[in-house]
Point group: C3
Chain length 193, copies 3
Amino acid sequence: MRQDADTATERVEGKLTEDDVRRIVREEVEHAFKRDPAARRASIIASKGTLDWAYPPLILATTAAAAGMDTAVFFTFYGLSIIHKDFAKKLKVDPVGNPAMPMPMPIPDIVSSLPGMVPLASRMMRSRFATHNVATIGELLDAARDIGVRLIACRMTMEVFGYDEADFIDGVEFGGAAAFMSQARRSHVTMFI
Amino acid sequence: MRQDADTATERVEGKLTEDDVRRIVREEVEHAFKRDPAARRASIIASKGTLDWAYPPLILATTAAAAGMDTAVFFTFYGLSIIHKDFAKKLKVDPVGNPAMPMPMPIPDIVSSLPGMVPLASRMMRSRFATHNVATIGELLDAARDIGVRLIACRMTMEVFGYDEADFIDGVEFGGAAAFMSQARRSHVTMFI
Amino acid sequence: MRQDADTATERVEGKLTEDDVRRIVREEVEHAFKRDPAARRASIIASKGTLDWAYPPLILATTAAAAGMDTAVFFTFYGLSIIHKDFAKKLKVDPVGNPAMPMPMPIPDIVSSLPGMVPLASRMMRSRFATHNVATIGELLDAARDIGVRLIACRMTMEVFGYDEADFIDGVEFGGAAAFMSQARRSHVTMFI
């Protein structure tokens, strides 16, 4: 894309004009924007603690990291459940209040509210994902750590919810919103999930 | 803002110093950042499938496109309902679990859970939006396609939820999270809705 | 990091080659990307109107502003409740449909749906946050205004929900999605909460 530097040097040595310089600068800058460091970073907040909303942050984070991006997921509020040692038991899906959830038949909220419907909906979603070869949350967490995604638990929410460091899976870091923001401001991809 | 190039050329021909060059570069770079290509792209994920949450991705996407931005919306999870051929029937609003929804009178969840409340709340929201001249979801989808917003259905979720390409409105593309991420990483505006 | 400019000038006066210029440009551009103006802006949408989801936009916005970033929060849809004069009464938390909410004991949705559960859960969350010295919503709103966070109410939603300017706390601006987007497109941090 750029001219051969040696030839160019010979041609213009000692005679570069401001126009030459501006042309060179525009070439370099256009090239530099294609390598914008912010395009190589993704900063994701995972704030929800249901089985269905545990997938998007982990899928997007592993996708970003697989594309070579420096990726961090900040787990805060209910999202702490995703990296809790008992995530398999903690992550459930609740059909109440979500009429978009595909169910075998329409179920009014008064029925979805009955005891037993949350475990039933959770089992249904797990098996539906498994049938279609979607990785489980456990597999996605493993993949995220293998590929270098930083998993950061929000210290403030940990305190409020009464968790301590030992409650979380291996490899989790602990930090605050300020540290997360200092990475996010240098990232094009920033999402609150 | 920048000096007239011809005059400058005459003045300094053959005598550009490193200081001159640094000054030129800083001017050009400041100018270039104002035309940062990432400022011309918006990448939005639509993940919810209720009537109320169908508005924000379509309003924000058409707003971005109207401002000249290359805009893509990636429909995933429950968000697939928004671009389903039967979106008008599929998109409902559920007052349960959302005490912030403006209702004519306060209604406890036990009452909102009753059969009939979801269609009632959905009718109320549609009529309230229509009264205030807000475009319908159908109109927003038309506007989005007219103005060049790319509507992309998530292949993975389509499989999990048992949809195929024929289930979606005309003009929808089909793709995965990796393709979406390669656009998002070059976009300033990235949102998960 | 960069060479001393005076020394360099002396050495190369009148003899800058294209290679010299490209080296200078790359140094300047690398330096400029570290000061990318988009890294100094955060544009956040607050769309939810429950007590729990009122915290994240205010915490993230004050964190960004404290780090010196130009920060705007656009309150739309149910998010308008956060800046309503009666926010203290309007913001409640509803345990229905959120099995991740930490409750003293597991409560099935049919029980959480009963009248009285929303105020109970709201009181619980307020006291839990207070015990752990987390600022209240009122304190966070004050902090946001003190530190220069722009609080913008969405005019379209105000009309649909029947609010007028006098309904909101002091210091709120009023605007539309297009104005918000023109700031967001120049911001690295863009989040829909």
